[in-house]
């Protein structure tokens, strides 16, 4: 029953995506072109990486609001390590990613060791990490990266944007982990009943710690891709991205209370959001109008799947 309703939500969402794609391609002949679609894939990679990690976090019944700030902090550190400290760029980027991952680890420690509810813990580190980014950057942006660095964010590999390969790889690996491994099983079990999971000898704390660390890592990788894509670093990068990622995850059918959710659902949710953004802007509707529409789609999609589910289970 559980599995059925889950599939139902994703099928419903996939159908919605198909309808949206068809409607949008009628709206504008520039929409359904390979170039445009690939470019949209480029634009959604950063949110996508974060959303994939967020799927795991939310499936355990947690949340990570600090990802946008971690993204900003990592971006700033990449620039600072390279320009001010003078490290070679690959080393600088790696060090910055390590720092972002560590920021995620700190979230995990606060949540698992001190038992602070994830919402509050990451609300606090949201302020802290963004503040660190501002303090370190002193409102200076770093530009002028070497040409090869833009391969990551602006160039193609085998005709497909480089970062889209990364997203694809992440999605496949994450789907497999969540669906078929002991780790994925633990995620669902913890999300459904943390106490019983602990009583069953599952390593609840270790799993959570790993997830928040992974979430930091995803945000950090997204940061480097972001920097490469826009050729600059600024301390306000990634502001509000946590809400975009959560929207994609929830739209994708992951229960905000935990215990349910799939990576494929998140990816469909993400595509739907990006298609709407792009299609509407091509149709001449301003970007802000599409933000509104995404909000409406989120509410309506959950409403619809709630209604289906209720009629499905109450027989």
């Amino acid at each position: 029953m559980n599995l059925k309703s889950l599939i139902r939500h994703e099928t419903f969402l996939a159908l919605l995506l198909v309808v949206v794609l068809i409607v949008l391609s009628f709206q504008s002949d520039r929409f359904f072109t390979v170039d445009n679609l690939l470019n949209q894939g480029r634009l959604m990679t950063e949110i996508g990486l974060i959303a994939i990690a967020m799927t795991f976090v939310i499936a355990t019944g947690g949340i990570d609001l600090s990802v946008g700030s971690i993204l900003g902090l990592t971006a700033i550190l990449t620039g600072v390590f390279w320009q001010n400290v003078g490290l070679p760029l690959p080393v600088a980027a790696t060090a910055a990613i390590a720092a972002g991952t560590f920021a995620g680890f700190v979230n995990g420690v606060i949540i698992t060791r001190f038992r602070v509810p994830p919402l509050i813990a990451t609300l606090a580190t949201l302020a802290l990490y963004r503040g660190l980014a501002e303090g370190i950057s002193q409102a200076r942006s770093v530009r002028g990266y070497p040409e090869w660095f833009y391969v990551l964010g602006q160039k193609d590999v085998l005709g497909v944007p480089t970062q889209l390969w990364i997203l694809l790889l992440a999605a496949v690996v994450a789907s497999i982990i969540l669906a078929y491994t002991t780790w994925g099983r633990t995620v669902y079990a913890v999300g459904s009943n943390e106490v019983a999971s602990r009583f069953s000898g599952l390593s609840v704390e270790k799993t959570k710690l790993a997830l928040y660390t992974a979430s930091g890592f995803a945000a950090a990788v997204a940061a480097v891709i972001f920097v490469s894509r826009v050729s600059t670093t600024r301390s306000d990068m990634g502001t509000g991205i946590e809400l975009d990622a959560i929207t994609a995850v929830v739209l994708g059918g992951t229960s905000i209370f935990g215990g349910r959710g799939t990576v494929i659902g998140t990816i469909i949710g993400l595509c739907l959001i990006q298609a709407l953004k792009n299609g509407l802007s091509l149709a001449g509707i301003k970007g802000d109008g599409t933000i509104m529409l995404i909000g409406a789609v989120l509410i309506l999609a959950i409403l619809a799947s709630n209604l289906f589910e209720r009629s499905g289970t109450r027989t």
Binding site: Y180, A196, S197, F199, S200
Partner: protein
């Protein structure tokens, strides 16, 4: 003692959920000043019936007559206004609020200006608690810090605050220890003297014979019989409930007792596990008796690594071990079936298959991947072996009955091939039939050489099933009694005893 005209009568009550008829034309009445016991196995329709009486469910058919007038309850407020109050089994209180506020919530005394009169709320709560001989409860305490028995007293005070004429008590003693049960029974008698009619739902026969004036038995949603209590005996009631006669409630299997598998010496953890030493042998059932809060469950949690021992020694098969987490306990062959099935034992939203494999998921994997086929096969075997009644192994555990849920928890731990199986209240909230099945499973396990530690609040169960009884009080062992010498009196005395030199 009791007036013969009923205050409340229900007739022809029927209710269906999603096409399944859970109650079929049941009639039931309560007179002022009587205790009317309501009996039936889990799923017999008792809860549905009392939920309709208390206004939580609307009946599909049937009438409710209160004091001669036919009424329809569309909310609990309506039932409350008609003088019917309910003390639910799960004790519906607000942990973050004070005792006084819990009593008067939704029903506050107001001052002339219409705002809540907190002085009056506290004064009247004090009065009500005093009426229940509960002088030791501060009205300003937050409910979260109270014991189950104290919370129940708060619930009863709440019912009295509304001048209830009828009080429905849903398994009020299910989670109480003997001394609290006695106190509760005194309260029930006192309420009866005052003319309150009491609907008393319970599985426990001794209480029913001690308290009830009349008894009604339900089975499969239908009314079986209503009798005066002196017209029936225990065996008749049980056979009315299950529709057949139960031969033996405690089928003690005789297993060969072997070598010592677990030896605990001077084990300590906090105030509740103090200086505990005992041996456990293969094929033995060691019963642990004690009041709630005596440290029974805490001892189990320490052995299971949830609250690791601060000092003392644990030897498994002669080897000294350190148990720092449930994982380590599991790997050493110690399994624990917890007291709180819903919270600690099961992931209710998950399928039977996934629950059964939960403690052995690493063993069922190659690398990091779960071997789904083997997982399903093991679950099927477990369902068959423990005769778990379900549609299929993909069914969420939450949909099963209490007894079958408990069997799933046991199945999960049997998968770990335990050498020591700790069962904490294995048959609480389980109906008569499933209870006997669980006891049979225990018998089979000891025959295979498993050593069982069984914690139970039910003295007959402890005495009936154990080879040896360990009695715990204030975190210490106050008695170790062999099966032959274990009488209710001896065990009971040890439960309230204190070790010399220790103050209460």
């Amino acid at each position: 003692m009791s007036n013969s005209t009923p205050y409340v009568s229900l007739s022809g009550m029927s209710k269906s959920f999603g096409g399944v008829k859970v109650l079929k034309e049941v009639s039931f009445d309560v007179r002022p000043g009587e205790v009317h016991a309501l009996l039936g196995e889990n799923g017999a329709g008792k809860s549905t019936l009392i939920k309709m009486m208390s206004g939580l469910y609307m009946p599909d058919a049937g009438t409710i007559t209160v004091d001669g007038k036919e009424l329809r309850f569309s909310s609990t407020r309506d039932a409350g206004a008609a003088g019917i109050a309910t003390v639910y089994q799960e004790l519906l209180l607000f942990p973050e609020l004070s005792v006084a506020e819990n009593v008067f919530l939704g029903n506050y005394p107001r001052t002339a200006t219409g705002i809540i009169d907190w002085t009056e709320v506290r004064r009247r709560t004090r009065d009500l608690l005093d009426q229940l001989d509960t002088y030791d409860l501060d009205v300003d305490t937050k409910v979260l810090s109270l014991s189950v028995a104290q919370r129940q007293r708060v619930e009863i005070a709440k019912a009295l605050s509304k001048n209830a004429r009828i009080l429905i008590m849903d398994e009020p003693t299910a989670s109480l220890v003997e001394s609290d049960v006695q106190r509760l029974m005194a309260v029930v008698r006192q309420l009866r003297e005052r003319g309150v009619g009491i609907v008393y739902v319970s599985h426990r026969m001794p209480e029913i014979f001690a308290l009830a004036d009349r008894v009604t038995v339900l089975r499969d949603g239908a009314h079986v019989a209503t009798r005066d209590i002196d017209e029936v005996d225990e065996n008749q009631l049980v056979s009315m409930m299950v529709g057949r006669s139960i031969e033996s409630l405690f089928p003690k299997a005789n297993a060969t007792i072997g070598d010592t598998v677990l030896r605990v010496t001077n084990l300590n953890h906090g105030r509740h596990v103090r200086d505990i030493s005992f041996d456990l042998r293969r094929g033995e059932i060691l019963g642990i008796a004690g009041l709630v809060g005596s440290g029974r469950t805490e001892l189990a949690l320490t052995l299971f690594g949830m609250t690791p021992a601060t000092s003392g020694e644990i030897k498994m098969e002669g080897r000294t071990v350190r148990i720092g987490s449930p994982r380590q306990a599991r790997d050493l062959g110690i399994a624990y079936v917890p007291e709180d099935r819903g919270q600690q034992g099961l992931v209710k939203a998950m399928a039977i298959r996934k629950n059964v494999s939960m403690a052995t998921i690493e063993r069922l994997s190659s690398g990091i991947f779960i071997k789904a086929g083997e997982e399903a096969q093991r679950a099927l075997d477990a369902v068959k072996r423990l005769s778990i009644r379900c549609r299929n192994i993909g069914q969420p555990v939450g949909e099963l009955s209490g007894g079958n849920q408990q069997k799933v928890v046991i199945a999960k731990w049997l998968e770990t091939m335990p050498k020591v199986l700790i069962l904490d209240e294995p048959t609480r909230g389980v109906d008569v039939g499933a209870k006997a099945e669980i006891h049979t499973i225990m018998g089979e396990l000891v025959k295979q050489g498993v050593a069982i530690i069984m914690i139970s609040s039910e003295l007959p169960e402890v005495l009936g099933m154990s080879d040896r009884v360990l009695v715990i009080s204030s975190g210490q062992i106050t008695g170790e009694i062999d099966r032959a010498d274990a009488t209710p009196e001896r065990v009971g005395a040890a439960m309230t005893a204190h070790r010399s030199g220790e103050a209460a």
